[in-house]
Subunit: 366 residues, 4 copies
């Protein structure tokens, strides 16, 4: 249950990390819409393992194929199914972990819930599940840009452990700036220090987490619903559904709780005849609805659970044991690869609310 | 759109702050379930304005009546409708604000989206909308306790601006401890300082925000779905759908990003024959599924938008103006009254996932 | 569970026949939409008991009040709640039936499912539940007509027992023609014979059923989805969710199974430059999508279960008994009052699919 | 949109008739559930073309493969993806029809809705889409039988054009009886006459329709919801979403409108201590909830639209033309192959309502 996301841009992912493959069914697309699979592949390439020495050495080309919904580059109106076969499965890597509940992993909860776990890898709890999300996000992005050519959804690594980027990038960051960095932090000095830290962690057999920041620019005012389906509520759900995420903020977030109302309220002004705000503590939303400013969110990711140090745990027979993973293919830091995942989830939320909004617009007369 | 929450515990709120009343329809309840309306009223009393001098002086008894679904204290199986009439409406209070977009409020976005706003108050964006949520949460709580008598959902004010409670209360806090405090902070020293700060802000015509912490204890392992409907994802959506919330954390949250994996991973141990963890950085979930530990979340609330200081804004005719609210009935700090709202949303999420889980349990053989 | 209908035009009914009242929450409306409550009342008047000697003598004015979502005759964008208090409750009428499972009624299944039944009347299984539907349908109709001024949804009594109207009325029938007839059959000769039969049944303490036909005119091609949410599938669900309905047909329906393909296929032609069909065996849909022709459906209603003759049944203690209802207030034929119910459900389906369609139209370039 | 069916047994089909393949994602299954793919294949074999000379000569082995959710014959708890590659595509068969709107087909409505149609075959409107349904139905059946070992869902061809089976088979029919007949009519005399008629139609280049009857036995009382999600409403939607279906009945259906209430009401009796009815005009439901009797429905299917006779239509350039299909691979009668489709949809509805029911049962104390 719970493998579907979105009301009108309706996305269902499927597949386990060591089964035949992983994929996604996207329902709710218009017909005759030009869908560029190359840009889908591009996003999957940004997500895939083995991009640099900072990431897991699992080698997956993650080549996407389209099983339905597309003909000659145009949608037919039915569901789009995007599929990636699993190639580089090494079940033997899991021989030494199958009998234990790995600390920080979902082994224990999955077994409790389902009475079974996948024999290799995390099954649905694996980060490979996000392939479907990233593919769907790439489709969502195309839908958004069809009506908002200037819209941009850009995420980057804002911090790794105690190292943060040092300047405000919300208005200026570009994808090119992000992609130039090995760790996807557009602040080059911080990027270097983050990379060094991640290498150090890898050498130590340890791991680190951090914060990804994502901005959504060029989205008109009016997206989001004022009660349960606030834009920030759906963004929060989207982000907290990503593996390893532990926190979400929009605008001023937790730091805004240290301000007074007179400091926090964004004053409204007019720029070039358009009503806007002179600060953006709100993060681009008011009352759950986009206000035309930059939507800015932070997502906290915990340090990766897979480490190569001794840990205490319990085996499936119920014995307390000491457990040490000797080898395997895992990222010491998930942040660089989480950047396209965050963007994808953001795009899915925006596309969904854009479709909802379109359904009512013909009736509104202000 | 978007006034319904939950898949099986299916809650729809309705009503504006200055219309006839506000309420909620709760669908998905079993029949012949003993429903205690007094405990619903109790929660509404905790939420209502005018509880102390720290809160708004709007006087609302907020007496709940049940319009459907209940007979002789037992559910009939159909939807429960709980309704609270609006009594103390003072539309004249809004005369001076109806022509402007109030900074920090949803006036501009609501007008952009709907082409109209309520003539008085915030309409659906008003905190009165949460009456329906608090009532539904009180019902959810009864459902949860029917199968888990020891379950407890307790929220409290963890911080107001720079003042935080000073000790870990997750395992020990009780509702009584919370209710003894005027600001609903069970740490009495912090509570006093918070109250003083809020009084100061009121005198200044300014406002403050803070963080509410909520623990959910006594919930079995197995609730939550491993992909989009992770327990923390649904909790995040629930909390970020509350008015004025700007951030959400579970377990270690943002601070966990400063740890290494070897520090963060909760080691698994056995206590009294039960598998548990010796720390709780995960916050009671793994892979989106409850693990039997205390579920612990933080929710950041921004300072209240309504202040009594000069602000720059734009009026509905499009002119930049200076705007100062002279009087009105508003909380200088929403935190104390947000405590029952946070608990209510948490209860709704837990009840929903409990019902989902029950639907599959008859089939699981571990 | 299951008290909500529609994806975007999202309707939730609540209330029992002998509780405080019945009503409906309608979510998914645009803001600033002029909503005419008088036309809602008009539909409720068509549905209410006591309209003529052919219907139940329960006297209910069924005056609708709006609890939310409307201000000065315009929608605010939030949910519209329409409510009708129950006035003429006579619980004593049910004293002699509370201890038995009435044949043809839901007493046994409701008790089995919920462990309880309402002490008087049918609870949620009562036809009073349809008040919320009829109100929502009246709202749906206004939404439809806002974009399709010529759209018309007209139902009438096509047959009562063995008496049928004798001519094709699909293209010509008007509401005025329907309302002129005591039984809502626009064929005056058939109408007289139906009325006589119903009076006879009432005198006999027996009841009859029949078929309601409904046409939907003026709806553009393109509504409906080609797989599960075919327009006819959603219409079928809508109609089969009405109390006492036992069958549904669109276009040629069951009688079309007696034709060959060469007889049944509607030939396509051009009229005034518009592509249309020269017959309408399809009933206005092809592949689940409206084709611009008249959508024509039939709904079969069984004879009313409440009769005043001796019947065999079982009491709640489990004894086989003979049971005879001596008096009560029940229609001998539900058909005349079911006309507005059928129209309401049809309007809800059309409005929902219109909103779905609008969400995608900005993207379609043919 | 609209490619998903069911609330808890959540089924999404994908794929076009001449694309890479067709399939289904089934979400909502428990974990560690033994899933037999052979019985899925068996159902697909019953549905596939080329089973006899009565059906289309398209040769498809329709071999199912499982892309996700299954390991060693047991479910993992995530979505099950079942996939069938399209093998025997003959796009050239469509060369002569691509430029015209075929009478009775969805060409015109699909083009109107989506601005495009599949270049070959019906795309999503093709009967190949039902492969996903039949596969999902085979899974649903296993879930139902896990808790109700005696449950049986059996459909058969009740009539072809004017030829009907002659005896009541509801209580006695078995799958073996159905499968012995070339046309899937267990009444051998009628079966022979139906087969002869279908052969005649094939020779004539014409087609016929008919009625499929389906019984659901061994289902406990209590399934279905009393308002919108009545069991018969969801069955109606399910059946009317099948290609070519034009009518639905439960129990007495349309013929029940010719009875009086005293004839129609099923009298309640006790048999072996169990409360049941002595007739079954209700068709196994009361107030939308199963009553423990046999659930019996009829589904009308129109004559197949593809015929080999001259027809008038309009081409895509807008010209009225005469059109005659010379050759192709099409069933002259869809009924025999629709039998497994009807069973599959029925199984999906029952499984969904069983899961819903299970979610509440722990709370009910009667």
């Amino acid at each position: 249950m719970g493998n579907t996301f979105g009301k009108l841009f309706h996305v269902t992912t499927f597949g386990e990390s060591h089964g035949p493959g992983v994929g996604v069914v996207i329902d709710g697309l218009p017909g005759s819409f030009p869908l560029d699979l190359e840009s889908v592949q591009l996003e999957l390439d940004r997500r895939r393992p083995g991009q640099s020495e900072l990431t897991t050495s699992r080698q997956e080309s993650d080549k996407v194929s389209c099983l339905s919904g597309l003909e000659n580059g145009r949608t037919l109106g039915g569901p789009i199914t995007l599929y990636v076969a699993n190639i580089d499965k090494k079940p033997q890597d899991y021989n030494d972990v199958n009998s234990v509940f790995r600390p920080g992993h979902a082994d224990f909860t999955m077994l409790t819930k389902y009475g079974v776990t996948a024999q290799s890898g995390g099954g649905r709890a694996s980060a490979r599940e996000t392939i479907g999300r990233v593919a769907a996000g790439a489709v969502a992005r195309q839908l958004i840009n069809a009506l908002n050519p200037d819209a941009a959804i850009i995420a980057w690594v804002h911090s790794v452990k105690d190292i943060s980027d040092s300047k405000s990038l919300d208005a200026s960051v570009t994808r090119e700036m992000v992609e130039q960095s090995e760790v996807r932090c557009p602040d080059s000095d911080s990027s270097r220090r983050m990379a060094a830290l991640i290498r150090q962690m890898k050498a130590d057999g340890d791991s680190v987490g951090g914060v990804i920041r994502c901005v959504i620019r060029g989205i008109p005012a009016g997206l989001g619903e004022p009660v349960f389906d606030k834009l920030e509520a759906d963004l929060a759900k989207a982000m907290m559904s990503l593996p390893a995420s532990k926190g979400f903020e929009i605008g001023s977030g937790f730091s805004g709780t240290h301000m007074t109302g007179s400091q926090h309220n964004d004053q409204m002004i007019k720029k070039n005849g358009k009503i806007c705000t002179n600060t953006n503590h709100a993060g681009g939303v008011a009352g759950g609805i986009s206000n035309g400013e930059i939507i800015a969110i932070n997502v906290a990711f915990k340090p990766v659970s897979t480490i190569f140090k001794s840990q205490s745990t319990v085996d499936r027979a119920g014995n307390e044991i000491t457990f040490k993973l000797e080898s395997g293919r895992h990222d010491p830091c998930v942040l660089p690869r989480a950047v396209p995942m965050v963007e994808a989830m953001a795009a899915m939320v925006i596309a969904d609310h854009m479709l909802r909004w379109k359904s009512l617009q013909p009736f509104i007369k202000s």
